[in-house]
Amino acid sequence: MNTRSNIIWGIIAFAFIVFLLSPIVLLVIFSFTSRSLTNFPIEGLSLRWWQEMVATRQFWPALANSLIIGVCVAVVSAVVGTLAAMGLAAMPKRRASIIMGLLTLPVMLPPLVLGVALLSFYVSIDLKLGLTTVILSHVLFAQPFVILIVHARMISFDPRVVESARDLGATPLQAFFTVTLPIIQPVVIGAALVAAALSIDDFIITFFTIGTGNTLPTLVWGMIRTGLTPAVNAIGTLILLLTIGSTIIALQLTRYRG
């Protein structure tokens, strides 16, 4: 009885997992097809579409933009988010949770609304659209994640460690750089990588705020408008590698330890 229902639930769970993962798996497989259509049967494996991708004129600027934006977003949101998280951790709980709610508001807004709002905001203050506006916009929605992750670490941070440093002669700044930062560093780096991953795979907000120019996701969107070639799958796989890679590293670094 029990084992039978276990088997049934196992099959259901397996079906769900297959449904969730198969598009991603297909994307990766089709990026290595030797045919020019993204369907089965695959006659042979080749790097033809990867070569195609590399040869596409807009690919390199888009990759560069994606990386520049990702790195800037990671750095800015890590610095600002860590400072915010430390400030919040030092506050009384009630006040901290109110401010936290306010700061995480951008995450709860539909990206489409956020994108349109940001676009009209930049236009109204006469800020030229480009990488800067994309970075600002990405920081807006990536930073709350950094705050949440770092704040969770700061809550369990032993304040006596910092007091010890002060007691032994460190100024507040010295105490931060010699004690606080080295201890929370893995979590901060992890949070920065999460921010980078969010930034690299964002399409909607980038689309509204970049003006001319492309990132990898907007490039893919432009390419599928003219026809779906397996080169799109190659770019998709590349984005997948970048975001999953940084997320895995982030999970490793932010994992709770003893």
């Binding site: 032993d158 006596r160 460690v161 007091e163 010890s164 440093a165 002060r166 007691d167 032994l168 002669g169 460190a170 100024t171 010295q174 010699t178 004690v179 080295p182 201890i183 003893g258």
Partner: protein, 347 residues
Amino acid sequence: MTALLKLRGISKRYGDAVAVQPLDLDIFAHDFVAILGPSGCGKTTLLRMIGGFVAPTSGTVEIDGRDVTRIGPEQRPTNTVFQGYGLFPHMTVRQNVGYGLRLQKKPKAEIADRVAEALRQSRLTEFADRSVTALSGGQQQRVALARALILRPKVLLLDEPLAALDLKLRHAMQDELRRLHQEFGGTFVFVTHDQGEALSLANRIAVMNAGRIEQEGDAETIYTAPATRFVATFIGEANLLPGERKAGQVKLEAGPSFADAGADEPVTTVVRPKAVRLLRAEEKADIEISGSLTEVVYLGDHIKCVVAVSDKQDVVVHLDVAVAPRPVVGEHVRLGWSIQQQRVVSA
């Protein structure tokens, strides 16, 4: 002789809650001072005001003639061993101990020498390159002490230094602290809720209750001549006999009366169980009281007897185990003690 550490009118309020009432305290060089009190009495707040971690609401802190009230912990000639130690988890034992000297930008060779010496003195040499998180509680305690003492503070502050250790280790660390205090020759101030720890370590004790210092003095005075009812009950066991003082005469509710100078007021007479004797027939004592024996318990090093001297008053007596004949429950007994061995305090 002027005090090394002078607290004047120091107090701390958190909103409406008063943690420390305005108080004065003098601590002299080479003293080993215990600030003793129940949890929540303000003793840790007081220590943190000395160390510079809590800004006092009023009053001043003076160390070695310098007013340090407004300066941060990094500029005070004090070092602290925190409860839980606050060791740096990302550093080895050696790096923890050398932290303060590195901040002072001492030459590398000097740091290495002094750290090695400190590690040797604290018997930590074999653990020098281990992470502090891999150490036992007692070893962590020694690292915290070494890390603070290497900077040769004028005053070493210790917040419940032994609270986290098990009983056996606690006794070993008490010896260690006493030895360090002698070798180092500094001034130690520690906070504790454990009266036994205060008596065994400190040469001076300040007893705190509800934000006030109730009494400050050497260990023996605190024990034998408690100034208040609270001090009497907090340190050691005590019999408290309520009574009334009128015209220089104290009349105890339980019967006896005796002469005692002082204002007319309700008073409590404090007498230690050890000071009370079981009187033989015809034997006389300054204060005599009688009752029936309700409990006799053999406790190894002494026999505890409880005597009901009235409906609502018991007197506890500690007898020598060699007493013969051993008293039995239900027996009617006469108790007595000398007037020098009791203390009369305000009720």
